[in-house]
Chain length 270, copies 2
C-alpha cells in the first residue's frame, strides 16, 4: 500500500477510536499499520484530539510507559444533551402513547439505536470517573441502553435474568419486593458473571419505586460487589422517596392522565 | 470558532459518520457546521471515503437530489471476519465453558461490546442489500447482537417477549414448538411494534432446531411482514435439518463432549 496522506490517516484513526471507546491502542499498532514514524502518528492524534474536543465529541487520553498508549474518551456537550432530552420529552408526550392502565408506550424509543447511543453517551459521561467494572441491567427493556453505556465505558455488560436457565450454569437467585406493586420478584445471575470486588453501574429504562435497583444492590452483595452508580432514562415523580438513595435520571415523568390524554414528562437535568 | 483545517474537519466528519451508520446527512449540515464551501466538504468526504475503503472499514455513498446527501456504509474486510471468527472459536473451545448438561457458557462473549459490534458489522454486511426495515430478536441473549446489527443497518430494533406486559399495549401472541426440546413456547409482540408489509431480519445468538426462527416467521405473518433474512452467531451441526430453510450462521458447534471436556466449534463461513 502507498504511504497515506495525513488526512487519510486521520480518517482511519478517528474511525478506529470511534468504534472502540476506552480501548487502549499502542502507538506501535499505528506506526506499523501506516508505515509512519511515531512522531507523525503523535501529531495525527493531537489533531484528532483538538478537533473532537472543539466539537464536544470526546477526547484522546494517553497512558505513559511501555504498556501504555492512547484511548478515546467519548463525550457529549451540555447543549447537545439538552437538545436530546427535550426532543425525547416532546416525542414521549404524544397522547397516542398512552396505553390502557395509564402506561406509556416507549419501545420504539428505547430500542432505537440512534436515541439509545446518545443516551448511552450521556450515562457514560456521568459515570466515567467512578471506575466502573461492569454495566448491569435486568432483562428486558433496559438492555439496549445498558449495552450502549457499556460500549461507551468499555466495560462488559451483565444481564440479570428473571428465571434461571441451563445456559447460566450455577447461579445466585434472590427474591425482592417490587417498590411500586409490592409483588415478590426474582432475580437470577450466573456465578460466573461477575468478578468479586467489582464496581457496578446499574442502568435501566424506568424507575418507579426503586425496587429493582434495591434488588440489584442486594444481588451485588452476594457477589461481594458494589453498586457504584444507578442511571435510569425515566424516573417517576411519585413516589418521591425511592427505595434507593441516589440515582441519576434523565427524564422525570410527572403524570400520565389517561382520562384527559395528557402526559407530563420533563427534562430531569434542569 | 476559527476556520478549521482539512485534517480537523476530517476527524469530525469521520466521527459523525462512524456514530451513525446509514444516517443521511445533507452537505448543507456540514457547510454550516464548518463555515466551508460545498466543494471543500465534498473533497473532505472523498478523502474519507477513499481512506476507509482502502482499510476495509466502510464507504460513503451519496444520494443525489434536493433531499439527498451522504451516508456511511460500514463494512468489515474478509480477513478481519476470519480473524474475529477464529478468535471466537478458540475462546469458545475452552473447556471451563462446559456447563452441567453439556451447555456452553458464553454470556461473557455475547454481551461483550467489542465482540458484539464486530459481529453486528458482519451481519449488517451480509444483509445490507436486502432492504431490511427492522431487526428482530427474541429476548434475551440475542438482544445485544441484534441491537448492534440494527445500529449498523440503521433500522429500529424490535424485541419479541416471552410473556405479555402492560407496557406492550395490545399485542399478538403466538404459540410454537421449540425445534429441539419440542416444548410449547409463547411469543408476544406489541401490535404497535411493526409497520405492516415490512421486511425483517431475525438475529439470534444460537440455533439448534430452528424452532424460534420458525416461530418468528409465523409471528411476522400476523403483522403481514416478511422475514427477509436470518442470522445466528452459532448453529449446531445437529440436527442438520433445521425448521427453517435458509439461515446465515457464523460458527458451527459440532459437539460438546462433557465427559472428555471437549468443545468442537468451527468457523462456519469456511
Amino acid at each position: 500500500m502507498d504511504k497515506l496522506q495525513r488526512s487519510e490517516r486521520i480518517a482511519i484513526l478517528t474511525k478506529i477510536f470511534a468504534d472502540s471507546p476506552g480501548k487502549l491502542f499502542s502507538l506501535g499498532n499505528f506506526t506499523e499499520m501506516f508505515k509512519a514514524a511515531k512522531s507523525t502518528i503523535s501529531e495525527d492524534i493531537d489533531i484528532i484530539q483538538k478537533a473532537l474536543e472543539g466539537f464536544g465529541l470526546g477526547t484522546i487520553r494517553s497512558v505513559p510507559g511501555v504498556s501504555g498508549g492512547v484511548f478515546f474518551v467519548p463525550s457529549i456537550g451540555k447543549e447537545r444533551v439538552y437538545e436530546i432530552l427535550n426532543s425525547l420529552c416532546s416525542e414521549l408526550s404524544k397522547k397516542e402513547r398512552i396505553l390502557p392502565g395509564g402506561y406509556l408506550y416507549m419501545q420504539d424509543i428505547i430500542y432505537d439505536p440512534y436515541v439509545v447511543f446518545n443516551v448511552g453517551r450521556i450515562f457514560a459521561q456521568e459515570f466515567i470517573e467512578r471506575k466502573i467494572d461492569y454495566v448491569v441491567t435486568v432483562e428486558t427493556k433496559g438492555i439496549p441502553l445498558a449495552f450502549a453505556t457499556a460500549n461507551n465505558l468499555n466495560t462488559p455488560l451483565v444481564i440479570v435474568r428473571r428465571n434461571s436457565e441451563a445456559t447460566d450454569g450455577p447461579s445466585v437467585n434472590i427474591n425482592y419486593v417490587s417498590g411500586s406493586s409490592r409483588k415478590l420478584q426474582t432475580m437470577v445471575l450466573s456465578l460466573k458473571a461477575l468478578k468479586r470486588k467489582s464496581r457496578l453501574l446499574f442502568i435501566d429504562d424506568f424507575m418507579k419505586g426503586g425496587g429493582t435497583a434495591r434488588g440489584i444492590i442486594e444481588l451485588a452483595k452476594e457477589f461481594e460487589c458494589e453498586v457504584a452508580g444507578i442511571g435510569v432514562l425515566i424516573a417517576t415523580a411519585e413516589p418521591a422517596k425511592k427505595l434507593v438513595d441516589s440515582y441519576f435520571s434523565l427524564l422525570t415523568l410527572n403524570r400520565v392522565d389517561e382520562e384527559n390524554s395528557v402526559i407530563d414528562i420533563r427534562n430531569g437535568l434542569c
